[in-house]
């Protein structure tokens, strides 16, 4: 992590930097992705047709590397609005590669549901590099669907935060390169709540009946609830997960919870339909540009981290170019430009200098550079096995999808 910094920060100024940027997580999510599939017709099927027109089985990407420079086209599939202006163009200029950058990654589980068939048959999915959340990347590793990232081409790997390098999901980071990390906590509209929100119990205040939204993602939604019950998402069990699900079900049946959202909670929060929402830190910084009443807080009992990772599917058509991209992102000066835009927590260490060059307010922002006390209060889910994932997803979906 960047150096400790506990100063009270002018969030609004940082927010102004991000003015008029729309967060990726507010863009569209959950059912909306499927809705978009309905509305846009076959666009989701485009994965089958773009690039590799034949859609036939491509040969395995060669693990041997002849050391020659990357050439040709690189197809990237990333979350919406997760990119800085001019970044792709600068990469193209620096490397001579052509980048086909698509913001078509909207939801981990839905992405998986749509791409698992071609991946299981080793058919091109129309992307050479995708950015799933860590738990999904761990699943892809287990299934053997990722290419290792060659250390020889990823010389900037040394810039990675040590805690991320040794993460259980991919120890030593052979297959995944973290892209952004962020906090999952509570966002609230101070004008609507009339008071500060500090803990999970505040969500169940009858004054906010029908004004609360929770995340439908199993890990992001349940983690902080489990913490509030004295259980840790670091060691989830069937009982602790079910206990959190039961609490949410009770509140849902009472009409306390207005919606289960994907990344689309932000509009409801900004427009005042929702007073308190489970939220991602970077979004809130960006939303504050329009609405200074919005606050982000890690609940007293704790919140969770999320980490989105760059991965190279084993069906990639341009392995070297994908590695070149990862290495480029891992350059601190380049990465600072991304952080200035997304407002999430850097996955590279010692970013303060480069961030200061862009704007000193960035490094001083506790949502970009969380103080140690906040970090101590943030937990991560471990890599879950198949049965656990399925069991937890099913338990939570019985509440969110019914």
């Amino acid at each position: 992590m960047p150096s400790k910094n506990s100063d009270a920060i002018d969030l609004q100024l940082a927010a102004r930097l991000a003015a008029n940027q729309t967060s990726r997580r507010r863009f569209i999510g959950g059912g909306a992705a499927a809705a978009a599939a309905v509305a846009l017709g076959g666009s989701f099927l485009a994965a089958c047709s773009s690039g590799n027109k034949s859609g036939t089985t491509s040969g395995p990407a060669t693990p041997s590397d002849d050391g020659s420079p990357a050439t040709g086209k690189l197809r990237i599939s990333n979350w919406p609005l997760y990119m800085a202006d001019g970044f792709v163009a600068a990469f193209q200029t620096a490397t001579g590669l052509t980048v086909d950058y698509k913001e078509d990654f909207n939801d981990n589980e839905e992405w998986f549901a749509k791409n698992k068939e071609p991946l299981s048959r080793k058919q091109d999915i129309g992307a050479d590099l995708v950015v799933p959340t860590q738990f999904m990347a761990a699943r892809l590793i287990q299934l053997g669907w990722l290419n290792p990232i060659a250390e020889g081409r990823w010389t900037n790997k040394k810039n990675m935060r040590a805690d991320l390098l040794n993460a259980a999901a991919d120890s030593g980071r052979k297959f995944t390169a973290p892209y952004m990390s962020g906090m999952v906590g509570l966002a609230y509209n101070r004008a609507a709540t009339g008071r500060d929100i500090t803990k999970i119990d505040d969500l169940w205040d009858p004054a906010f009946k029908g004004k609360v939204s929770l995340l439908s993602d199993t890990q992001d939604g349940l983690g902080m609830i489990m913490l509030s019950q004295g259980n840790s998402p670091e060691k989830p069990t069937t009982e602790t997960v079910q206990k959190a699900v039961d609490l949410i079900k009770g509140q849902k049946d009472k009409g306390q919870i207005r919606r289960f959202t994907g990344n689309d909670y932000a509009n409801d929060l900004a427009s005042g339909n929702v007073a308190i929402a489970q939220a991602y830190s970077g979004d809130v910084v960006q939303l504050q540009a329009d609405n200074p009443d919005l606050k982000f807080v890690v609940p007293a009992a704790g919140g969770t981290w999320f980490v989105d990772t760059m991965t190279i599917p084993y069906t990639t058509q341009n392995l070297k170019a994908a590695e070149e991209w990862i290495n480029y992102v891992y350059d601190r000066a380049n990465y600072a430009k991304l952080i200035a835009h997304t407002q999430y927590v850097p996955v590279l260490s010692n970013m303060a200098d480069e961030l200061n060059k862009i704007d000193p307010k960035l490094a001083a922002n506790p949502l970009i550079n969380p103080p140690q006390s906040t970090q101590d209060n943030l937990k991560s889910w471990p890599a879950l096995n198949d049965q656990q994932t399925q069991q937890f997803n099913t338990a939570y979906a019985a509440v969110t999808g019914a």
Binding site: G31, G272, A397
Partner: protein, 273 residues
Amino acid sequence: MILPALLYLGIFFVVPFFSLARTSLSSSGGSVYLPTLSFNWDFGNYVDAFSQYQDQIIRSFTYALAATALCLLLAFPLAYVIAFKAGRYKNLILGLVILPFFVTFLIRTIAWKTILADDGWVVSALGAVGLLPSEGRLLSTSWAVIGGLTYNWIIFMILPLYVSLEKIDPRLIEASKDLYSSNRRGFSKVILPLSMPGVLAGSLLVFIPASGDFINADYLGSTQTTMIGNVIQKQFLVVKDYPAAAALSMVLMAIILVGVLLYTRALGTEDLV
């Protein structure tokens, strides 16, 4: 001549239908992420689907029925006016009716979120005259979902009604007047029976897609207004329990089919169509 149509039906309807039916009677095993479906007449999927999600099933059909009735009430006078009273403005009004549907379904539904927002003027206006539902808001209520369904599907009621009303020979109406029928009697004895094919077609075109809809419940509803379409979507894309999702789809289809048969029979339009 009929061969292309038969081929089309065979490839795009019969095959997927049997595949769905087969999935609904299978049980999944093997790896969690790449389950293998084995077909073994597992009717338990249906029992589970019905017992677990009967609330959502009932709610879906209640909403769809309400939306169909609302569509009929709103569309009939409009179609009547276009067919009989609009004169040279007929095409203009028809154009205006169709115009909003040039905008995609998704955008129109999301637009309603803005219109019905808690802090919006619609809510404050209704609140001022004491017409808000018990929740104290419009968005994220059953009313918003039914309203959204009505709005999104009403065109499929207006057009068939207009076509069947427009086809009515004006001389029949004149004849009824010559026989001293009042306007009301003329309407109920001549116009309404002759417009029945339109009523039937419109009702089916609204009711069937509305029962399976999940976009309106997703955007305009709350956690209390989930429809069966939302459950199926979640089962297919998040839980990935394909047999359960397929069984739910089959149940939905069966109920719609029975409903449609009863409705067609009750209206007795076979001779008219």
